[in-house]
């Protein structure tokens, strides 16, 4: 069984039959049961719709953003500090107003969304790769290797992820210098989020692997002299992916918040190619003088994004958990 202190119901979500490759998870998602529960849950439907729209905007900002805000030739200072369209002095030209340099806030949000989502997805992907690999090895090997790896996980778990990410950022500054670090900001943040978030995956995958490795299909693979790496990744991995999917969804929300937080305190993405957090940081300078929309609008976009992800994560966790049915 998995770690009794952290039971992970999602691992037992479906009956384990013979391994079927990585396409299995997609088939599981398409299967009637999850679509049926999605249809019954209008909150989850709404969250999914909102998330799809935001992801579309993040993928193709040029299509949706009214202005190329970070093209220096397009900046017109005379448009600075316009309030949103529905307030006195606002115009339909700039729906959500403009910032201190006359840039359209809506466009800035759409481009910022792209940076936030890129860093979030990249961080989650790195955490998945590290966590799944360590979890598979620990669960399959057992014994000394298992206790060593889990001990490392325990140590890391005593620190909040955000602190570890800040620490990694500080180390990157000491190594690369401030300018070098800013050029590599996206990569540094992906590494910081990945290294601070792998433990949850490792624990869940380890627990599931310990169950799986005693099953007949693993024994039969061992007997036919399939290599260990192949057994781990081709045979066991597809059966623990449901757990990874649930953790990954919730982690994506956390990852985007970590990026936004680091950027807000000035340790994340620099203002030359801002993320949502950077936009809020810049706008925060004008809160006291009354130009509230420069910070509040990107903040609201961030809130909607993370809320949609969390709602969907809650839905997936419940829908893939047979105990709640």
């Amino acid at each position: 069984m998995s770690d009794p202190n952290h039971p992970d119901p999602a691992t037992n979500a479906e009956p384990k039959t013979a391994p079927g490759g990585a396409g299995r998870i997609l088939r599981a998602l398409r299967s009637a049961s999850i679509v049926r529960s999605l249809r019954k849950d209008w909150v989850a439907m709404l969250a999914l719709a909102v998330l799809l729209i935001l992801m579309f905007a993040a993928a193709l900002p040029n299509l949706l953003a009214p202005y190329r805000v970070f093209d220096l030739t397009q900046i017109q200072l005379m448009n600075a500090f316009r309030p949103p369209a529905w307030l006195d002095g606002g115009s339909a030209e700039f729906l959500l107003g403009t910032d201190d340099q006359g840039r359209d806030i809506l466009s800035a949000i759409i481009y910022g969304l792209r940076v936030s989502v890129t860093v979030g997805l990249g961080g989650v992907a790195l955490a998945v790769v590290i966590g799944v690999t360590i979890g598979l090895i620990a669960g399959y090997a057992g014994g000394f290797i298992d206790s060593l790896l889990m001990r490392v996980a325990d140590v890391q778990l005593t620190f909040p992820a955000i602190l570890i990410a800040v620490m990694i950022d500080g180390v990157s500054r000491a190594i690369l210098g401030n300018a070098g670090r800013d050029n590599a900001a996206v990569i540094v943040l992906i590494i910081a989020i990945g290294l601070s978030g792998w433990v949850e995956y490792a624990r869940a995958v380890r627990g599931a692997t310990m169950v799986e490795r005693h099953r007949d299909y693993v024994a039969s693979a061992q007997l036919s002299r399939v290599g260990t790496a192949s057994i781990l990744f081709n045979h066991i991995l597809p059966n623990v992916l449901t757990a990874v999917l649930v953790i990954g969804t919730i982690h994506l929300g956390v990852a985007i918040l970590i990026e936004a937080t680091l950027s807000f305190v000035g340790l994340g993405i620099p203002p030359t190619q801002p993320s949502l957090g950077t936009l809020i940081r810049v706008g925060n300078n004008y809160i006291l003088s009354g130009e509230w929309w420069i910070a509040i609008m990107p903040g609201f976009a961030l809130l909607v994004l993370v809320l949609a992800i969390n709602l969907l994560g809650d839905f997936l966790r419940d829908a893939l958990n047979p105990r709640l049915k």
Partner: protein, 324 residues
């Protein structure tokens, strides 16, 4: 019992040793202390002299033991950025962070526990649905944005509360407190509220989940069958058993609250440890960074150990297992 204790304390010591080793590596290999002291253009002979003085020419293991000895004696070196002893700076900043974290936790408990109990008992009530939806917003909204919105509403629009700093403080000799002046209390409201929002949502969801689990259990069904009044069942029987796991989680949260204070302090320019840490990271001031790392690790290890021991004291099953 003694074996269990020793194992836990041993584990805690190993964690601390590992963290200290990481801090030592950061301290030694990131940034050049000789350059920090002499500047870029020092002569080779002067560099040698300083290296010798700092003991940098000695073998790495010797230096690690010297480092451990210094830390045990409370000496974390000089801050590159401030030129002051790190210990002095930290002691000066500690009260602000502790007061902020405790005020935030007090607010979170006062709101979170009743809200969680209510939403578990009256599961289908519309109020519970609103509370549950609100709690999801509470864990989705970043702490810093809560701070920004609070400043916008209460400082800019209503003009009733200060947006930065700690107000006037009273020096008690070993502790400076903001609790004793009206400006200190006013300055505390917004930071404490913004640090509490996430914790309120967390605690509420935890209490609700635990309470639902307990309500489903057999002895509550028995109590119902005996015809005990609902109020008595919920508050005498259910809540009591709900609170044990909740207390341990709150203890663990207190540590992360001090870490979260990093963000809140930056929004409100609150002169505590978190702000100090952020400024040190931005300036790559590794002496303060490594000291903060060790300090926070120590805090978490002590809290974890205390929680383990608490469990041991509360849960007879653990004692039985350890006795075997």
């Amino acid at each position: 019992m003694i074996a269990f204790l020793l194992r836990r304390v041993g584990g805690a010591l190993i964690v601390m040793l590992a963290v200290t080793a990481i801090a030592f590596v950061m301290f030694n290999y990131l940034g050049d202390p000789v350059v920090a002291i002499l500047g870029q253009d020092a002569s080779e002979a002067a560099r040698r002299a300083v290296e010798q003085q700092l003991g940098l020419d000695r073998p790495i293991l010797v230096r690690f033991f010297v480092y451990l000895r210094d830390i045990a004696g409370g000496n974390f070196g000089l801050s590159y950025r401030l030129g002051q002893p790190v210990t002095e700076v930290i002691v000066e900043r500690l009260p602000a962070t502790v007061e902020l974290a405790f005020s935030g936790m007090a607010i979170a408990l006062l709101i979170g526990v009743p809200a969680g109990v209510f939403s578990a008992i009256r599961r289908r009530s519309p109020v519970s649905r609103v509370l549950l939806g609100g709690s999801l917003i509470g864990i989705s909204v970043p702490t810093f944005f809560v701070g920004v919105v609070l400043i916008w509403v209460f400082s800019v629009n209503l003009g009733v509360l200060p947006s930065f700093g700690r107000g006037q403080t009273v020096d008690l000799g070993w502790w400076t407190t903001g609790f004793l002046t009206s400006s200190g209390l006013a300055a505390l409201v917004l930071p404490a509220m913004s640090i509490a929002v996430f914790q309120i949502a967390m605690i509420m969801r935890l209490v609700r989940a635990e309470m639902l689990e307990v309500i489903r259990s057999d002895y509550i069904q028995f109590a119902r069958a005996r015809g005990l009044p609902e109020r008595r069942i919920y508050f005498r029987h259910a809540l009591k058993n709900t609170l044990i796991p909740v207390i341990t989680i709150i203890a663990l949260q207190l540590g992360s609250l001090i870490a979260f204070a990093v963000i809140t302090e930056s929004v409100f320019q609150w002169p505590g440890l978190g702000l100090l840490f952020l400024q040190s990271v931005a300036a790559a001031d590794v002496t303060i960074m490594s000291a903060y790392l060790i300090l926070i690790a120590g805090l978490f290890v002590v809290i974890n150990l205390a929680v383990d021991l608490l469990y041991f004291a509360i849960d007879p099953r653990l004692r039985a297992r350890a006795g075997r």
